[in-house]
Symmetry: C2
Subunit: 122 residues, 2 copies
DNA sequence: AGCGGTGGTTTACATCCGTAATCGATATGA
DNA sequence: TCATATCGATTACGGATGTAAACCACCGCT
């Protein structure tokens, strides 16, 4: 669960986060909308994810049903924190400042964030 | 310039972002405070960074002086956007919401961000 | 009973990454 | 001038990653 999930594996995770449990064939079908992978490739990625314990599987008749073991929420948190730690000394402020500066936020978006922050204070 | 910089290479970049130009030996010296690498390793990383055009070098007598070609600012922007795109649909709001929720922000930090956003509106 | 599909497992293979050791040219000190 | 230290370049090598093909077992159909 603590090993990193690779770029390609992530595409598989996204499918499973969207809907689970799924068979390997189902996963391949859905992932095909994004990437042009053969069924074999998806099967490899699923095995690797199972080995990493990021995905679990249980027998259903003669096929496996795969489900995520790592929650998207948790993974996103890890990756976000990784970025914040690496580049912004672990501080959220500089990240927000940086991104806000880069992608010019609409007044509306700013208002939304302000609202969120206001709610957090209580 | 558009290739990704690996984790190990990043440690070298951080040194060069801090101070440049530097010789390979100098880089190795400073990087040694963080990681326990041999001079050979640092030289390899520098070559790879030069190949990726993330670092430039110019002859100074019989040794090279290395300098970053990619600015930290630009790189951080790219990586941040990558994260935001991959996990938050390219939207800053959800990222902030997510991080704010995770690492409980102090009222003070929230106030700082609010100030920043207020300034942006003008 | 034999065959084709379906599913998981094993093997493959090029590239990248982490981490060096070695090589060849040169500069320097004895 | 000769050995030595230095420096960049070349080569190494195991593990991860992207991308699959091959293999083997089993089920359903003919």
């Amino acid at each position: 669960m603590s090993e990193r999930i690779s770029e390609a594996e992530l595409a598989v995770m996204e499918v499973l986060w969207e809907e689970a449990p799924l068979t390997a064939t189902d996963v391949a079908g859905r992932v095909a909308r994004q990437r042009d992978w053969s069924l074999a490739t998806v099967k490899t990625l699923l095995s690797r994810l199972v080995a990493k314990e990021a995905v679990g599987h249980h027998l259903d008749g003669r096929r496996f049903l795969y489900s995520p073991l790592v929650q998207r929420e948790a993974y996103v948190t890890r990756e976000s924190r990784r970025l914040v730690d690496r580049f912004f000394g672990g501080k959220l402020m500089p990240l927000v400042a940086h991104l806000a500066e880069q992608q010019s936020l609409s007044d509306d978006e700013i208002a939304q964030i302000e609202k969120l922050l206001r709610e957090m204070k209580s």
